[in-house]
């Protein structure tokens, strides 16, 4: 837990690549873990399946969550995170291309900490990721671990 971990849940490899680059450009040197679908992400967070040996209290500092995911979509992932006693305080930032009002509302209703729409322009995207990293990894006080 010494190194802050960022969990990116994103199925599109291009977007993963772009996010990784944006983080690098923002000099955010945290450990980036990528889960390509909702099911894997939940397995990782709750230490199931392939991640059964993981320490369940070793939580990422922040989760960047896309809404459109194969198998289990982003809303379900968010709900599962908020329903578990262990993960419910974990900051979750929605990072998506949707700007539908319905989607924004549903995310906040389900306890998203932040909602960021991915801009098409890469420079703007880098800027957004930069702000995001600065805020959630540096300024924001981490929630206490649940017992």
């Amino acid at each position: 837990m010494e190194i802050n971990t960022i969990l990116l849940i994103e199925d599109n490899p291009s977007d993963v690549e772009l996010t990784r680059r944006a983080l690098t450009k923002s000099r955010i040197k945290n450990n980036l873990i990528v889960m390509e679908d909702g099911e894997d992400a939940l397995d990782y967070l709750f230490c199931r399946g392939a991640f059964a040996n993981r320490d369940p209290y070793d939580l990422p500092t922040i989760v960047l969550l896309d809404l459109h995911l194969p198998k289990v979509d982003g809303f379900e992932v968010l709900k599962a995170i908020r329903h578990s006693d262990i993960t419910r305080r974990m900051p979750v930032v929605i990072l998506t291309s949707s700007n539908e009002e319905v989607d924004v509302a549903t995310c906040y209703d389900n306890g998203a900490n932040s909602y960021i729409r991915k801009p098409v322009d890469f420079n703007q995207f880098v800027e957004a990721v930069n702000h995001l990293g600065l805020y959630w990894l540096v300024i924001n006080e981490k929630p206490p671990l649940p017992l």
Partner: protein, 1032 residues
């Protein structure tokens, strides 16, 4: 020798004094018997005399001298004759024994001493002054001068010799000793007398204290009894040992205890009590009221030692006062008008039972009740059995006051609701607690009510049982604080009011109350009697009416006639049967109406009746007023000369047979030839008749159908229904329904059936008759129609579903446009940028230009997608109209579109724009598009002006944005508002070509129009109209 004689005398005197002293102390006291006492006294004194004579001083043989004269004279003086004489006799006896020459002298001295003492005593007692020195000196001198004189009695001149020797000592010693001894006795006697006086006084006081008519008690500081007198014990009925040591409070009535404790404390502080009243308990439990006066005795340190109190029993006085008060009430009592109405209205209006109320009547009830109410000035109620009020009067001020107070507690204007609320305490007491109980138990109920008085309720019972109850209130309102405050709390009234009213209440004398109760009983009996009589009367009237109505209205003929052949009384039916009025028939000779052929038989019947035999069936003919004859069947009962007869006009029945035969033929024909199929079933459902038409309808011949069950011809799934319908017929119910029948060829025949039950002569169910109308064609048409309708509905549903699907598809399409299409765009843009960043240095300039083009195109596509989305959202979202301030929107947009530097180069005119009903978000978008377009197309010009204003027509309000921009060719203006339509080249003016399409869509959704005018190079004007809404 003389000296020794004198010494002997002194000695003797001393001995006397000593013996007298001893005597004083040993003399027994308190003898009741005075004579015995005096004898004892005498004997004792005699003893002393003997003593001193025995120790006399001897002058010579036979002449002895001692102090006997002193003792005897003083004994006579102090103790009177009896002891002195006894002592004297003792002295004489001993002197005789001694003998000698002085014997005579000695004895005479003894006698004279006693005598002188008695003489002094006799004269002195007249003055009642205690003996003093004067008396003793004179007694001493007189006694002893006489004694000296008596010496002369000595024989032969011995006397002078003796005188010579003793004169001096006797005259010196004897009087002195007499004085000393006299004083001694006198003092002792005075002491004795004083003691006696004190003892007598004490005894007097004691007697006074014990027998005084006032009770006395003494308590210690803790109120324990120290002493009480006999009167106390007599009043309270205790023995003294049962009282002493116990506490005063144990002898108090419990209700007086608290006040008494406080009073005792105050008493100890103040040091006295005056006329304080306590209620005490006698040993037999009786209560008495006492009035106590007393003082406190204190120890030297000021603490309470004990109390001295006296009291008198004032119970009788209180009772007398009370009696007096009740007499006062009687004297002051005036005849009062009963107040029947109360402020909340008449409760008897709620009476639904009305047995007592209607039978007896309000006025009579009032009269009955006022009989005892006027005696007592109290309250009374009469209840029906179910608790309804037949009467309720509150004549006593206390009842009126409390009843109204508890009525107000109910907090409703509706009396019925108030009665049911349970908060109407007076009603609760009067009905629920007391009168209801009287009705339920049938007993007299005498109980305390909520208001502290007593209620006396008596059930009203008739031979039919208890029909209600009657009660009255009596007794005095409570006066003690505890009960009053309880009532005050319950009724929520100020306790001062209650106290005052309770105080003002005048006690009614007990015999008046008894009288009123007695009258109450009588009233209850009268009410019961009246109700009972009324009942009997009503049922009699009813029976009479029933009889009359039966007699008059019965269809049968009734009459009373006599054996002489005359009608007496007839009922109305006769008028219809014979056509004559009742006046014509009454007292007419009935034999005059009889058909000549029946005359003889009728006469013989009358003969039978004369013999007092009844005639049960006899038929003859009577003449109708029109001359025709009616057949009459008789049942007659004789009763003396009178005949009671019931008769029936059977003419119709006689003629019915013929008519029936005729009509049957008629109907048969009708049935046979009817167009409807007709069949008859017996009660088991077997076909017993079919007409010809059935054969045409079903194809079965009559023979094939008769005797078969109707079920054989009914479509199988309707058999159950057929059975139910048969059941209904058996209950006398007709029916009309549709039914499917099986034709001989196997096809189905739809029929409309009208079915009626049939009865046999006894009126029993005997099957049914049904008419069948063929409705097969109609039914087929209906079925066809039903199928069409159903398929039409299905089609509509299908289409609706299709439309909904299409709509959903559209929605998900636009959703994926927004997301799925933008994702690759982002990748294109992203990786192009990365390429430029990472490999820009090694790429040729041209390649870099291409990369920029790629990026720009991606951005443009993103922009177009966004615009498209916006447009599609417009389709999906509803418009919500509310007042929108156009002026405000326009100002805001201008501020955001033009920064200050650029703005200064524009001439901008904005009219006074109104507030219009519209969708804020959408109309905002309209202005945004129009204003940014105007700015965009004006910027290239040097003369820059924008005018925004509006005007009204009759039905619309029209806004416009006019610019001095580049304008457009007017012939393309139709294309302006299409999607992705552009009138300028991309390199000239930026834009998606979708803004005006959005404007058009929005304005159309507001039921308005949008249009534009322009001249190339001179500027353009864009208009949009909104329909005028009502100003509200």
């Amino acid at each position: 020798m003389l000296n020794s004689f004198i010494a002997g005398l002194v000695n003797n005197a001393t001995m006397l004094l000593a013996l007298v002293l001893v005597y004083e102390t040993v003399t027994p006291k308190g003898f009741q018997n005075q004579l015995l006492f005096k004898i004892i006294q005498g004997v004792l004194l005699g003893g002393i005399v003997v003593g001193i004579i025995a120790n006399a001083s001897v002058l010579w043989m036979g002449a002895i001298f001692d102090t006997r004269s002193i003792l005897l004279s003083l004994a006579a003086l102090f103790f009177g004759a009896i002891p002195a004489v006894i002592a004297g006799l003792f002295a004489i006896f001993i002197r005789l024994c001694i003998g000698g020459s002085g014997q005579v002298t000695g004895i005479s001295v003894i006698a004279s001493s006693v005598l002188w003492g008695l003489v002094f005593r006799h004269f002195h007692s007249r003055y009642k002054v205690p003996y003093g020195v004067r008396e003793f000196v004179s007694l001493g001198l007189v006694t002893h001068i006489v004694m000296l004189a008596l010496m002369l009695l000595f024989p032969k001149g011995e006397g002078f010799e003796v005188l010579k020797h003793i004169s001096f000592p006797v005259m010196v010693i004897y009087p002195v000793v007499t004085i000393i001894m006299g004083l001694m006795l006198s003092r002792s006697q005075r002491v004795k007398q004083e003691r006696l006086m004190i003892a007598r006084n004490a005894e007097n006081y004691r007697q006074l204290y014990e027998s005084a008519p006032i009770a006395y008690q003494s308590l210690d500081k803790d109120a324990n009894f120290i002493d009480v007198n006999q009167t106390w014990l007599k009043i309270l009925g205790y023995e003294k040992h049962e009282v002493i040591g116990r506490n005063f409070m144990e002898f108090l009535s419990p209700e007086s205890l608290e006040a008494s404790l406080a009073c005792f404390a105050r008493f100890k502080e103040q040091g006295f009590v005056e006329n304080v009243e306590h209620t005490m308990l006698k040993k037999n439990g009786e209560k008495i009221i006492v009035s106590i006066n007393g003082t406190i005795m204190r120890n030297e340190d000021g603490s309470v030692k004990q109390t001295h109190c006296v009291f008198t029993d004032i119970t009788q006085r209180r009772k007398a006062e009370k009696d007096l008060k009740s007499i006062e009430w009687m004297l002051s009592k005036k005849p009062t008008e009963l107040q029947v109405t109360s402020p909340y209205g008449d409760l008897t209006r709620l009476n639904t039972e009305r047995l007592i109320l209607d039978s007896v009547g309000k006025d009579v009830l009032l009269g009955l009740v006022s009989d005892f109410l006027s005696l007592l000035d109290t309250s009374a109620a009469v209840y029906e059995k179910n608790g309804d009020y037949a009467l309720g009067i509150f004549a006593s001020s206390w009842c009126q006051y409390l009843d109204l107070a508890s009525r107000n507690l109910c907090d409703t204007k509706d009396n019925a609701r108030a009665l049911a609320s349970g908060k109407w305490h007076c009603h609760e007491s009067c009905w629920t607690k007391i009168s209801k109980l009287a009705i339920e138990t049938g007993d007299i109920i005498d109980q305390e009510c909520a208001g502290g008085l007593r209620l006396y309720a008596v059930p009203i019972s008739t031979s039919q049982g208890i029909i209600g109850a009657l009660n009255l209130g009596y007794g005095n309102p409570p006066t003690d604080d505890a009960t009053l405050s309880e009532i005050a709390a319950k009724y929520q009234l100020p306790i001062e009011d209650l106290k005052q009213r309770a105080g003002e209440y005048l006690t009614r004398p007990p015999f008046i109350i008894d009288q009123a109760k007695h009258k109450l009983h009588i009233a209850a009996r009268i009410i019961a009697e009246i109700v009972e009589r009324k009942n009997t009367e009503l049922s009699l009237i009813k029976a009479q009416e029933e009889l009359n109505s039966y007699f008059n209205n019965a269809l049968d003929l009734f009459c009373i006639a006599d054996t002489d052949g005359y009608f007496h009384k007839l009922n109305n039916s006769w008028t219809t049967v014979l056509g004559y009025s009742l006046e014509d028939l009454s007292h007419a000779r009935f034999l005059d109406f009889i058909h000549p052929d029946d005359y003889e038989s009728t006469l013989s019947i009358v003969g039978t009746l004369k013999e007092q035999k009844e005639v049960l069936s006899f038929i003859n003919r009577y003449r109708h007023k029109d001359g025709s004859y009616r057949w009459i069947e008789w049942r007659s009962y004789p009763s003396g000369k009178l005949i009671y007869a019931a008769a029936r006009d059977i003419t119709d029945r006689f003629e019915y047979q013929k008519t029936l035969q005729k009509s049957e033929a008629k109907y048969r024909q009708l049935v046979e030839t009817a167009y409807e199929g007709i069949w008859m079933l017996d009660r088991h459902g077997t076909i017993v008749y079919v007409n010809d038409r059935v054969k045409d309808m079903l194809g079965f011949s009559r023979e094939e159908m008769l005797g078969k069950s109707a079920e054989d011809f009914i479509f199988f799934d309707e058999v159950e229904d057929h059975r139910e319908k048969m059941q209904a017929r058996s209950r006398g119910i007709s029916g009309r329904f549709e039914r499917r029948l099986l034709k001989k060829d196997g096809s189905i025949l739809w029929v409309l059936i009208s079915s009626n039950p049939l009865y046999n002569d006894l009126g029993e169910f005997d099957g049914n008759i049904s008419m069948h109308t063929d409705i097969t064609e109609q039914k087929v048409a209906e079925e066809q129609k039903r199928i069409y309708t159903m398929s039409l509905e299905n089609q509509v549903q299908d289409r609706t579903a299709q439309l909904q699907n299409a709509y959903k598809e559209l929605e998900s399409f636009s959703y994926s446009v927004a997301h799925d299409l933008r994702q690759p765009l982002r990748s294109i843009s992203g990786f192009t940028t990365i390429l430029k960043e990472d490999f820009g240095s090694i790429l040729p300039l041209e390649a870099q230009k291409y990369l920029s083009t790629i990026t720009r195109n991606a951005e443009e596509m993103d922009f177009m997608i966004k615009a498209l989305l916006e447009l599609s959202q417009l389709e999906r979202n509803l418009t919500t109209l509310r007042p929108v301030n156009m002026q405000e929107i326009v100002s805001k947009i201008l501020d955001s579109v033009l920064d200050n530097d650029v703005r200064s180069t524009f001439m901008i005119n904005i009219g006074d724009l109104p507030i219009v009903m519209s969708d804020y978000v959408l109309i905002n978008s309209v202005w945004q598009n129009l204003i940014s377009n105007a700015v965009k197309f004006t910027l290239p010009k040097t003369e820059r002006s924008i005018t925004i204003d509006y005007y009204r027509t009759e039905e619309e309000i029209i806004f416009f944005v006019r610019d001095s921009g580049v304008g457009f060719n007017d012939k393309y203006k139709e294309k302006l508002f299409g999607v992705f339509q552009r009138l300028h080249r991309k390199d000239q003016f930026d834009g998606t070509g979708i803004g005006l399409a959005i404007v058009k869509k929005i304005i159309n959704r507001h039921n308005g129009n949008v249009w534009a005018e322009s001249k190339l190079g001179e500027g353009s004007t864009f208009y949009f109209s909104l329909p005028l809404q009502d100003e509200t």
